[in-house]
């Protein structure tokens, strides 16, 4: 009888322990961090919790899920900082024993139960054989019940993700440091700039190999009696080509030359291609009127750059010293005001 009592006690304790372990469907861990920090699951807008003054927040997550990332929002911050969770291996031996033990108990119980049933049927009502059969049946049913109660939940739990892949969360996790939201280090141009800059990869050309504004090297003529600057000022639209050693490198079906008056005999010239300034800086030209009524525009320090504006408003722009990335090109534009 002592043996039976002992076995029953052990079975009960083991069953309760395994049942308890088997019914747990969550994983627990603590997140350490600055008090007041809110912790979020990704893609869930509601905070999972706030780290209390003790600096430690306990969380439970489903065993059948995996959270590799969580977010921390520090007090006073508007943004969340993603941080990673650490893991360790877990064999989950208890649940595995529970499955084996439970199903075996259930199997053994069923064997006892069916044996008892046969004995019960074989005996006559009230005789010892029938009583023994009844005891075996009842005992077998009880053991089957206990075994199933242990085995089925354990089996169910073994099907959960953390059990199938033998992992659990490290008990101590640490919220990310208070990562500052540093402004973008390489910010793209604003949209209106981007629209105007369809060829951002090309570097700006310089005129005559000079990178300083030409304006500082010009001298204004005071002898002009007519306002030639005003006469030639305007927008000239046309087409152009960029040549290197006689070979056309680029063609511009739409290009614009902007001529702005500086004074009576001086103008500022910009070339706009695809919405972008072709040259680094506006170029300063001197304006002289020819006998035929046309105007000749020249750059003081760059004799290879000339512009002719005819009476009918047509323009011929030639610049033979366009410096692009160290190579000297010729830019030829014809247009009309």
């Amino acid at each position: 009888m002592k043996n039976i009592l002992f076995t029953k006690t052990v079975a009960t304790v083991v069953s309760v322990a395994l049942l308890s372990a088997s019914c747990s469907t969550t994983e627990k861990f603590c997140i350490y961090g600055k008090p007041g920090t809110e912790i979020y699951y990704p893609e869930v807008s509601k905070a999972a919790g706030t780290i209390p003054s003790a600096g430690k927040l306990q969380l439970e997550v489903p065993s059948d899920d995996f959270y590799g990332i969580m977010l921390a929002r520090y007090p006073g911050r508007e943004y969340k900082v993603p941080f990673g969770l650490n893991f360790k291996g877990a064999s989950h031996t208890g649940a595995k024993i529970g499955v084996g033990l439970g199903y075996t108990l259930a199997g053994a119980g069923m064997v006892s139960m069916f044996t008892g049933l046969i004995v019960l049927i074989a005996g006559s009502a009230g005789d010892d054989v029938a009583v023994m059969g009844g005891l075996l049946t009842a005992g077998g049913a009880a053991v089957t019940g206990v075994g199933s109660a242990i085995g089925i939940p354990s089996d169910s739990r073994l099907d959960q993700l953390s059990f199938r892949y033998n992992y659990t969360y490290s008990k101590s996790q640490f919220a990310a440091d208070d990562v500052a939201q540093v402004p973008l280090l390489n910010r793209d141009p604003e949209k209106y700039m981007s629209e105007a800059t369809k060829k951002p990869s090309r570097r700006k050309a310089t005129s005559g190999g000079e990178s300083v504004p030409v304006a500082v090297k010009t001298s204004k003529s005071k002898r002009s009696l007519n306002d030639h600057g005003k006469s030639v000022a305007g927008e000239y639209s046309g087409k152009g080509v960029l040549k290197l050693g006689g070979t056309t490198e680029e063609s511009y079906p739409e290009i614009m030359v902007l001529v702005e008056r500086v004074d009576k005999s001086t103008v500022s010239v910009r070339v706009i291609e695809n919405g972008e300034d072709f040259f680094e800086a506006p170029m300063i030209y001197n304006v002289k009127r020819r006998k035929d009524g046309s105007y000749n525009l020249t750059m003081r320090d760059v004799p290879a750059a000339t512009i002719v504006v005819n009476k009918n408003g047509t323009m011929t722009f030639i610049h033979k010293s366009v410096n692009i990335d160290g190579d000297i090109y010729t830019l030829h534009i014809t247009g009309k005001r």
């Binding site: 990673g84 893991f87 108990l105 010892d128 992992y167």
Partner: protein
Amino acid sequence: MSAIGEQVDVYRFYMKKNHLLLSGIVSAALLSSCGTAGHLSINSVGYQSVRTDFAFPEKIPVDAKIATVYSFDKNGELTVIVKNLTQDIMTIDNKKSFLIMPDGNSISYFDPVVTANTKSSFSSETNSSSFNLGALSSALGIVGPLGSLMGGLTIGSSHTEGQSNSSTVILADQPTVSIGPNGAGVMPKHYSVPGVGVGAMKKPDISASAAKPSESRCRFSVCVSYSFDNGKSYDKLITNFYVNTTMTVKVDRSTVDDGFKRIYAAKADALSEPCYMFHVATNLPKGTDTYRYGILVDYK
């Protein structure tokens, strides 16, 4: 009494058998628990940011006629939302709307061969007349942090606490479709962009950052053709994208947090990017291993 004694003996016999069985099972279970099949493996932590070739607009101009919102899921699948900012009917020509892939190939948004992949619906309130980015987010059912939009298609789920609306339009998979005044719709197909998403974060590399679009390893574009005169003439909104940063840090399952710290150390402005994702690469068939934040916006 002798009969009861015999019964007890029989019962003891069975209990002894059970003892033996019990011992056998426990041993077997203990042995089986030592097996190594199916262990969690974590290989790396990845980070990727995608940009348009212009700065994220703080505000959409009041005279803009069309706005587009772009989001990527973890596999680089691009969702395009088109917003009609006018009081006129907008016609979208799906035949003339394309995704231009990084390799230069383009895919039409109306291709009968490609099966429409409209996973879910989400919503838009279409009555905003004055417009800024906040209004756009609101109008498209994007509430709370912009990160909620990521994947856009999850908006209708409980993950966002049911804060989305219910009048969503997913544009029909037809050659041309229309969007009503101040309405919005989702382009009918969601194509994956090679080079975007977790597939691009497999190779450990901490220095894969592009300062300019021209330096990017992955550039692509979306062209939306739209009309306000019932299809007589079409205009185009072309948005150019580039992958600004792709970083992958090798970790194991006990140093996942360290992977994030190394990414923050290598890219101080990681959290300022308008559209980015973090990914923890595991061998698990499911789980929350990716965090996606932000959207990209264009207008004309």
